[in-house]
């Protein structure tokens, strides 16, 4: 019971702090890493993403795919983590950059239906899953109030080597305040992110 009470206090404190200021101000010392779940990459054969998940080292598999809108081809990335048994746990989707001019920096906007991107904005979402990967525990969209804007930067688009590389910073807010687990937070942040992925031939 005491443990539960302490856990509640920790969660309450963390939640309040997040409500007041959920990003770090310049010049301030880095906050201690939050207590989060860290899983393993699902499949790294098509790419890898690395970053910091609320101050914790984080690594995932990466896969590049495309879709068409109004005869224009766009690309997006899926970053997936799994349990050691291969059950899906994190599903981060990021993209919306055009095939015609992929290099550049894309501001991540809160738009759920990616039907109108023109190479300026990108979209992203992040979900935490349970059980066999068929139970959505928490779902996050871009946090438009974060101090550091979310972005996706494509730094290399090599159609000869079939490699894309880039960086990202992603801040999210849960669509429903998580209640199931104190290690699930209302605000989520992936900082210092970088990735590579194969461009499908």
């Amino acid at each position: 019971m005491r443990y539960v009470f302490h856990l509640f206090l920790i969660l309450a404190f963390f939640s309040c702090k997040k409500d007041d200021d959920h990003t770090q101000n310049p010049g301030e010392p880095s906050p201690p890493p939050a207590d989060v779940y860290i899983y393993v990459p699902c499949d790294t054969s098509t790419g890898v993403a690395r970053g910091s998940k609320l101050g914790n080292d984080w690594i995932s598999g990466a896969e590049l795919s495309n879709y068409e809108v109004n005869d224009t081809l766009y690309w997006y990335l899926d970053f997936l983590t799994c349990t050691s048994d291969g059950l899906l746990r994190e599903y981060l989707s990021l993209g919306g950059f055009p095939d015609s001019h992929p290099l550049g920096t894309y501001s991540i906007v809160d738009k759920n239906v990616p039907s109108g991107y023109h190479g300026i904005y990108g979209f992203s979402s992040y979900g935490m899953l349970g059980d066999d990967g068929d139970l959505l525990l928490d779902f996050y969209k871009p946090d438009t109030t974060a101090t550091i804007n979310s972005y996706l930067q494509i730094t290399r688009w090599d159609t000869i080597a079939h490699i894309v590389e880039g960086n990202f910073h992603l801040a999210y807010r849960a669509t429903h305040v998580p209640t199931s687990d104190p290690k699930h937070y209302e605000f989520m942040e992936f900082s210092d992110g970088r990735f590579w992925a194969k461009i499908p031939e």
Binding site: D78, V113, P114, D131, D132, L136, H176, S180
Partner: protein, 592 residues
């Protein structure tokens, strides 16, 4: 050779309807005969295992043992609809017994004090007794046993007192229907029936609850055609689509109008390996219509998540703590050296060899000091918020005897009307379906459909196969004028046959020399010609394991051949014809 529990799964896995028992006889049974530890036994006094025998008990007498053993029902497994497997505990330390009932016969497997007992339906080495007892296990003790910290009277009370109807809005997309209509349909079923398939898929949820002993708790459904095509994410991201479903104004408006407690979007197989997903924080889910029925039952599985159904403990590759009392049901798999693999409705589907059983309980878990009882789900069911119209919602039941012999029986849908201004108002349209395997993808198991009436009469001599003792299911549904869909299933038992057919055609009065079939091998039709016989005859076509695939009526005349349309995959089959007191059984081959 020593039989182990891994082989138990193999032994019972021969039972699915499309298996080849002859092949099985030549392989597995020969192996068993060579096993010096295997003791053959006979099943006596064991008729078809009742569908609700989960709560029943069986008394066993085995050769070589002086004691009688009472096995307490732990789990009733229903496979492919015509197959029943009952698992029970005997003694301690993993002693177990499994009873199976199929159209081909009954079988038993038991392992007691390291001795293996086995009876095969085609063997004549039978010599033991199994008695089906009417007294059931004691529910109260069961209720107490799953409470980690002792009994919880309040929670236990909910098992019996909470009787709710939850309303699920099912949004049916064109994509879902297109996927369903590509399924194989026998020519005898003119009205197939995407919606009927979907209804069966939805009702599998109620059947899983029924199998789990959750009496008085039910779901009703409203099926509403819905165009989601402009809302799918371009990236086939099921999480984005689920979020869109959650925030979509049109969806909210429909759900609000119908006062739905939960929303499921039925779509196609667009998400690859993900057949469905349910949101834990809001009653929204997406399910592929392709897998609503056996072996995946994805619809029931995802709703099971809404009922807080979880999967395994950490020790069994799950993510629920071993020390937690939160997951006393719905375990997906028990796999250890001392127990065979069994899968509940919440099981992980890893490959096509696995299949879920229509039950929420862990099949037969008896380790780690925990019991796994489906009754626990009753508590979580009661804990769900029935947002609207509790006890005022439309519900139906079927009246009529469940025991069939020769006499026609009338069945009537009784309407438990909705409250004033509650969706589910008259007039109603009705659907009836009679069959042996309504929860599979195999529509050949449907015997007969009935028209739009709230009362039907089943004539066993006409409507049922004449040579099968297997149980049948009478499925009924009512759809209100405002689109509320509720359904019910009654399990019918054939307590006698109108006329026991002879075992082989050689002793039948109607011989193959007097009625011949051609061509053989056949493709799309069988032509029957007769010599000296004429009249209205019933026919049925069976697979090699005895499972009836189709049946109907033909007029046999000497002047012209009678045609039976078939639409079967290549293989060996048996045609059975009954004409008055005459009976014919003859094999034929299909080569397309």
């Amino acid at each position: 050779m020593t039989l182990n529990y891994g082989q138990v799964s193999n032994l019972v896995s021969f039972l699915p309807a499309n298996s080849d028992i002859t092949s099985y006889e030549l392989t597995t049974w020969d192996t068993l005969k060579a096993d010096p530890t295997a003791l053959s036994v006979t099943l006596i006094d064991l008729e078809v295992i009742p569908a609700n025998s989960k709560a029943d008990s069986f008394l066993f007498v085995f050769p070589g043992r002086t004691d009688t053993l009472l096995a307490v029902g732990q789990y009733f497994e229903k496979r492919n609809d015509s197959t029943y497997v009952w698992w029970g505990n005997i003694g301690q330390f993993g002693d177990v017994v499994a009873l199976a009932s199929t159209p081909g016969g009954r079988s038993l497997y038991a392992k007691i004090d390291s001795s293996v007992y086995f009876a095969h339906p085609l063997s004549n080495r039978y010599n033991a007794l199994v008695e089906h007892r009417l007294d059931s296990i004691r529910w109260n003790e069961t209720c107490v046993s799953y409470m980690e910290d002792g009994p919880d009277p309040e929670a236990c009370a909910k098992i019996d007192t909470c009787k709710n109807v939850f309303h699920v809005l099912v949004l049916v997309t064109d994509e879902a229907l297109e996927e369903v209509v590509t399924m194989p349909v026998p020519p005898s079923l003119e009205v197939h029936i995407p919606y009927l398939y979907l209804q069966f898929g939805m009702h599998s949820l109620n059947f899983a609850m029924y199998n789990s002993g959750l009496v008085g708790k039910n779901f009703r459904f409203s099926m509403v055609p819905f165009d989601f095509s402009n809302h799918y994410s371009n990236t086939s991201n099921i999480l984005n689509d689920l979020d869109e479903l959650n925030i979509n104004d049109d969806v909210f408006e429909i759900a609000d109008d119908l006062r739905a407690d939960a929303v499921i979007l039925l779509t196609d197989d667009r998400y690859g390996s993900i057949a469905g997903v349910m949101y834990s924080l809001a009653p929204y889910g997406i399910v592929s219509a392709n897998n609503m029925l056996a072996p995946r039952y994805t619809f029931a599985h995802e709703i099971g998540h809404w009922l807080n159904g979880r999967h395994n403990r950490v020790s069994n590759l799950g993510d629920v703590s071993d020390n937690s009392g939160e997951c006393n049901y719905g375990w997906r798999k028990i796999s250890s050296n001392s127990a065979p693999d069994q899968f509940s409705i919440m099981a992980l589907m890893t490959d096509n060899d696995n299949f879920r059983s229509l039950v929420f309980s862990n099949p037969r878990y008896f380790g780690n000091g925990f019991n796994a009882n489906a009754e626990y789900i009753s508590t979580t069911f009661c804990g769900l918020a029935d947002e609207f119209y509790e006890n005022e919602e439309l519900a139906i039941s079927i009246s009529g005897t469940t025991a069939l012999c020769d006499d026609p029986v009338t069945y009537t849908i009784n309407i438990d009307a909705s409250g004033f201004n509650v969706p589910g108002q008259a007039p109603f349209t009705y659907k009836w379906q009679l069959g042996s395997g309504i929860f599979t993808n195999n529509p050949y198991s449907t015997f007969k459909s009935y028209g739009n009436t709230n009362s039907i009469t089943i004539n066993p001599l006409i409507d049922l196969p004449q040579n099968s003792e297997a149980d049948f299911y009478l499925y009924s549904s009512a759809i209100s004028s405002d689109g509320v869909f509720v359904n019910h299933i009654l399990q019918l038992k054939r307590i006698c046959l109108p006329e026991k057919p002879a075992e082989t055609s050689s002793v039948s009065a109607l011989s193959i020399s007097k009625v011949s079939i051609c061509p053989n091998p056949a493709k799309k039709a069988l032509h029957l010609t007769s010599l000296g016989f004429a009249g209205n005859a019933n026919y049925s076509i069976h697979a090699v394991d005895g499972k009836m695939l189709s049946f109907g009526h033909i007029i046999i005349a000497e002047s012209q051949p009678a045609n039976i349309q078939i639409n079967l995959p290549n293989g060996y089959y048996t045609l059975q014809i009954s004409l008055g007191k005459h009976f014919l059984s003859t094999p034929f081959i299909v080569e397309n």
